[in-house]
């Protein structure tokens, strides 16, 4: 146990977290997101599997996502704008990023709790 703690603290010492986030407007981002989803709806139909997750699974299992928009919404927007492979891979990337959103230094919305902003702006892979 002590060895693990020592290893972890030495890792943090070697790789200090230097990136800081900035606080942004929740009103603006809600506006941007509503525009994104509104436009996306007009382009194509939604992904049925993601809708199933949103309507059934998330209600049952609950969700504790710190990112804005939530992963499922992000995936849904991607599915309407990019091809399937790109959408799946981008959603996977986002899932991995979630626990370390603060390390990446994403913008923050303060609304009861801290939300890290990551909008699906384009279909580029990197």
């Amino acid at each position: 146990m002590n060895l693990n703690v020592a290893l972890l603290s030495s890792l943090i010492f070697i790789f200090p977290l230097t990136v800081s986030s900035s606080i942004v407007s929740g009103i603006d981002h809600k506006f941007k997101l509503s525009k994104l989803t509104h436009t996306s709806k007009k382009i194509k139909a939604k992904s049925s599997s993601v809708s199933f997750y949103q309507k059934v699974l998330r209600q049952t299992l609950g969700s504790n996502c710190d990112l804005y928009p939530h992963d499922s919404k992000y995936a849904q927007i991607n599915f309407t704008r990019c091809n399937k492979t790109k959408s799946i891979l981008k959603s996977m990337h986002r899932f991995y990023m979630e626990p370390d959103a603060s390390t990446v230094g994403l913008d923050i919305i303060l609304k009861n709790k801290v939300y890290y902003v990551d909008m699906p702006t384009n279909c580029n892979m990197y």
Binding site: I12, F15, P16, M92, Y96, P99, D100, V104, Y126
Partner: protein
């Protein structure tokens, strides 16, 4: 009778003048509130204020000034079409000096190709090459003011000093799931990536051993997604970390280079 008529005319003139003055005062108040919101990065709310101020404005130059700020707020909200419409309207109403400002804004934010003066073109080129340090170092800063050229030099030296992460290295390290994320300091992501990838890989191997080839193929398929996603994640995170480290420096450079674009 004539005196009465004149008195009525005078009173109505006075009322209309005072309401006109009030409207002017209101527009200034609404505008200053809008500016306050804009400086606090509340762009949607500020755009409403600027629009209202423009509607209430009684002097044409003030109206143009408010609409210009409205366009800036629209740009911040990624409402480029709206901003372009408004700026195009404005460019027909203002003098050539202000028109060149609008052209520069259009080139900067709306991917327009308007013709710029030498000075504006120089500033635009510097800003376009902000991520290309070598190109920036080779540029001649002769047309810029002393403060502007010193801010460009400061930016170059500050970017040199930044300890940026290498996306290539992060991606290469991610061939072993989680190692790339560890290099970036994202230990939780690293742990999740390692666990998920090993889980699917081991289960695929296990199914294969037991001769359950369909299940093994399915597990391999999921593994391929999680594996590629893991590499993509570390490359993307490295890029984001680098971008976020550069952002404050770029904001400072932008403020110094384009100080005049804040107002029309």
């Amino acid at each position: 009778m004539l005196i009465c008529q004149r008195i009525v005319i005078c009173i109505s003139l006075f009322i209309s003048f005072s309401s006109f003055a009030n409207s002017c005062k209101d527009s200034e108040l609404v505008f200053s509130r809008g500016e306050e919101l804009f400086n606090r990065n509340q762009f949607l709310l500020s755009s409403i204020h600027f629009s209202n101020a423009a509607a209430l404005a009684c002097i044409k130059s003030n109206q143009n000034k408010y609409l210009y700020k409205y366009s800036l707020a629209m740009i911040e909200l990624n409402e480029v079409t709206e901003a372009e419409v408004e700026l195009s309207k404005l460019s027909q109403l203002v003098n050539p000096k202000k028109k060149s400002k609008i052209n520069l804004i259009k080139n900067l934010y709306l991917s327009s190709n308007s013709k710029l003066s030498h000075y504006d073109q120089k500033r635009f080129d510097i800003w376009s090459n902000k991520n290309n340090r070598k190109e920036l170092e080779e540029m001649k800063l002769s047309k810029l003011s002393i403060s502007q050229s010193s801010s460009v030099n400061n930016y170059i030296s500050s970017v040199k000093k930044l300890k940026l992460k290498s996306p290539t290295l992060a991606g290469s390290l991610s061939l072993i799931p989680g190692l790339g994320q560890s290099y970036l300091g994202a230990y939780q992501s690293a742990a999740i990536s390692f666990v998920i990838n090993s889980l699917f890989y081991m289960s695929a191997k296990d199914f294969e051993k037991k001769g359950q080839y369909n299940a093994a193929n399915a597990a391999y398929l999921v593994f391929s997604v999680t594996y590629v996603g893991n590499i993509l994640n570390s490359v993307n995170m490295a890029n984001r970390i680098n971008k976020n480290k550069k952002t404050p420096l770029q904001r400072e450079l932008k403020d110094n280079l384009f100080q005049d674009l804040k107002e029309l």
